[in-house]
């Protein structure tokens, strides 16, 4: 794997190639155009580009796929963010009377960032991640995805690896896109369980009866807890580590556990002791609270709340790691490895090395337009799989849209 420094250095050379030959424009446009059911839905969408040397352009907007393509190839943005759908074309926002230019719709988005787990990770700090802590993201996706589907009834949830230390979720259902700011923050609050800052020791408080949604989250967390927390993170492995956990148990059993823990063989045994002794106290949910504090997804509520908040686009290249922000297939979530995600340099290399056989192919069909040939280039690289996942997501969305349209035309015929 190329080091982070190398990846930043190749950006100026390889990004133009990526935007010219590999970026999946057709799928991208299909996504944000939402079937073209509403006119100007794509045209009124805000994009923002961060160019080389941190030049920041907000309120970009495009009339169609061709224009988007042209601009991206011309400006070669280091980072692309997606904003809201506005009442007017964002690139003309200055010509609209102030106050009339308003954000109307946006996907309901969630941003989970590994830095927010620093108090419960023993392996890495800040922007660093490793296989040991990545499980936290797996758990986060499992818990949130279940709630979004089963509790809120959202069908179209696109999970994306951010390219560095976190994941994003784009909920694309009609209802989700139309949610008000208040509703968005309410949903985010509903999904937030871990609360409190640096000065709060116990950040999860459960009361009887436990809400069904939390109950289900606990079941999901339990599936990972032993292997993740007790083995890999070894949260009860040393005195220093278990003191942090014991700070969360009721005082009456704390001292006893402190002595018992010293003689216990490993984290696993100590966890069993803790669970046993908690049962004798009034705080019967202490074990669950600890599990949630260590594993429950920690959302950046502000990102979800704001209708006009920008979020990094899928298929954007992370400027530091060079990794492509790719969709995650939940069917194989447990084996998703952020370190084997295609990077800008890896896919450009693949493009070069696979040139030979394909070139013959090309000469045989010279009549084919350049754009069409280009649209298949990504298939020669490891970008093919992420694009396939994206495609699948789009097909499902188009399918359900067709269902709705049929229903509508049916009801029309009835009259």
């Amino acid at each position: 794997m190329a080091g982070a420094g190398d990846e930043a250095a190749v950006l100026p050379d390889l990004l133009p190639v990526y935007y010219r030959r590999l970026f999946p424009y057709p799928q991208y446009f299909r996504w944000l155009n939402y079937g073209g059911v509403r006119k100007a839905y794509f045209q009124n969408r805000e994009f923002s580009f961060t160019l080389r040397d941190d030049i920041y352009l907000r309120y970009q907007s495009f009339t169609n796929q061709q224009e988007l393509e042209k601009e991206m190839q011309k400006l070669v943005p280091y980072k692309i963010d997606i904003g809201a759908v506005y009442s007017h074309k964002p690139n003309q926002h200055n010509s609209v009377k102030a106050g009339n230019f308003q954000a109307l719709e946006k996907e309901l988005v969630f941003d989970i960032d590994m830095t927010d787990y620093d108090d419960v990770r023993n392996c890495c700090r800040a922007a660093d991640i490793c296989h040991k802590c990545w499980t936290l993201m797996t758990i986060a996706i499992r818990v949130l995805d279940r709630a979004l589907e089963e509790d809120f009834g959202f069908e179209h949830r696109l999970w994306v690896y951010s390219g560095r230390r976190g994941v994003h979720c784009w909920v694309c259902d009609d209802i989700a896109r139309k949610l008000s700011q208040t509703a968005r923050s309410a949903v985010a609050e509903y999904l937030s369980v871990v609360k409190g800052g640096e000065d709060t020791i116990k950040k999860v408080h459960l009361t009887h009866p436990i809400h069904p949604s939390i109950e289900k989250a606990i079941v999901l967390v339990k599936r990972y807890f032993r292997e993740y927390a007790l083995e890999n993170q070894d949260i009860l492995g040393s005195k220093e580590a278990w003191e942090k956990v014991l700070a969360m148990v009721p005082e009456e059993i704390r001292e006893n556990l402190q002595t018992e823990f010293i003689n216990a063989r490993n984290s696993d045994k100590r966890w069993d002791m803790l669970k046993q002794s908690v049962k004798t106290t009034k705080a019967i949910f202490t074990a669950e609270e600890i599990m949630l504090q260590y594993c429950y997804p920690r959302l950046d509520v502000n990102v979800s709340k704001g209708l006009n908040h920008l979020l990094k686009s899928p298929f954007c290249v992370h400027p530091k790691t060079g990794r492509i922000s790719v969709p995650i297939d939940l069917k194989t979530l447990d084996s998703f490895d952020p370190f084997s995600v295609p990077t800008l340099s890896s896919i450009c290399r693949e493009l070069d090395s696979n040139k030979k056989p394909e070139e013959e192919d090309v000469t045989s069909k010279e009549s084919e337009p350049e754009s069409k040939r280009r649209s298949r280039d990504y298939k020669k690289t490891s970008l093919a799989e992420p694009v396939r996942i994206f495609d699948e997501f789009l097909k499902k969305m188009e399918h359900s849209r067709k269902g709705v349209l049929l229903e509508q035309s049916d009801s029309h015929r009835d009259f």
Partner: protein, 484 residues
Amino acid sequence: IVPYHVAEMSQSASQNILYFYCILYFSCFPVLKSIENIGVSFVKTSEQYSKKLEAELRKQRFHFRPVRSPGVFEMRRKDHLSHFILRLAYCQTEDLRRWFIQQELDLFRFRFNELPLDKQQQFLKHNDLDYNITAEEKEAVHKNVIDGSRLSTIKMEFLLIYKIHFTDAIDLIRNRKVYLNRGYAYVPHPEIVIIVLNEFRQILSKALALTKRSLPVIESDERLQPLLNHLSHAYVGQDYSMQKNVGKISLEQIDGLAVKSFPLCMRQLHKALRDNHHLRHGGRMQYGLFLKGIGVTLEQALQFWRSEFIKGKVDAEKFDKLYSYNIRHSFGKEGKRTDYTPYSCMKIILSNLPSQGDYHGCPFRHSDPELLKQKLQSYKIPSAGITQILDLVKGMHYQLACQKYFELTHNVEEVGFSHSHPNQYFLESQRLLNVGRDVKKEPSPPEGSQRSQNSQPARPASVSAPKSADRLASEELEMIFSDG
């Protein structure tokens, strides 16, 4: 488009009718005012709250229950008209609208809860909120509904459950107080009031916005304009701006008063000013207007701030250039010549949060509990009292916490007023300290009986009628300052 009620008002030509509206207003405004007062002192869902409110409404002859009697139509007409007059008066600014909506919501909640079940259902049906679920569906979800809504002791067979789209149950979702399945919220009957309230809030706030838009039409009627202005001014009872006590306080007294009679926020600002010889803008506004409210004149204010600031990094010339304009401005002597009123607790708590280097805000709201504790300890508040205050802070009852602080620093059992303004705190404190000097404290009624009874010990007039409160307060002040 002019809403119906507005049209009706502008068409009513005779002065008599205007007079009638005026009367109506004064019969309804105190109702909202008492709702606010009781709402600050009690938890809104508690039995105590309902009892207190019921007693208060009875006292004011406000009919909150549907009645069957010949006069019912006239009564409802009166209720409706007064509501619309209040709308006119309270649509003018954001603050007024927020206050009005909050009180109307509380009144609505109370009235809705007082209705018998069949009437409640009728209401829900009438407003398209009646989505009962089938017996089978109920069977399937009932455990989840109970757990999700944190209801512990309700018999399921009597429980009505409404199935509504989650976007209609936002308030319940925010607190994770409802069971959600596939996009639908299953709301048990007692909770449906929250949904209804939300709906009511939206309607009311839209209506107020509309009313505001049609205000210019009404303002062109010179008979109404002064009336409306007057109405909304009565909103906090008094705004503690122009008092008759102006000039009856000397700058030497301030240090002493700060310790004895200032609420904690002002005491903190005063101390910060004396320590640092400087306050940032937010602090100068909050403290400066408070001082103005207790009777400091413009000349005194200029002298007060100048003498303090020049002890620090600011020399007299710089002070005159940078700060005196602002002080004159806040006394209405510069710029658009608005005579600014002292900040109320609500404003201090909600707006302009203090950041690094600021000392303004509400210490109960904006201080770290640990720091608050230390501060209270240093002010020699007994530790039991500190615990009580911290509990109130934890429950987000910042004004009650302040009230407790008042009780503890003045050695009284119950303050006898509902605290909503720093200047009110000051007046009450002075009143108490000066009265205590010559009159022995009245024996307080025995514990227990005091709380459970419907009839309350007579409260000071300052909470009920704005008119008399104004007069009373200034008379008190006369007494206080002529005394000192």
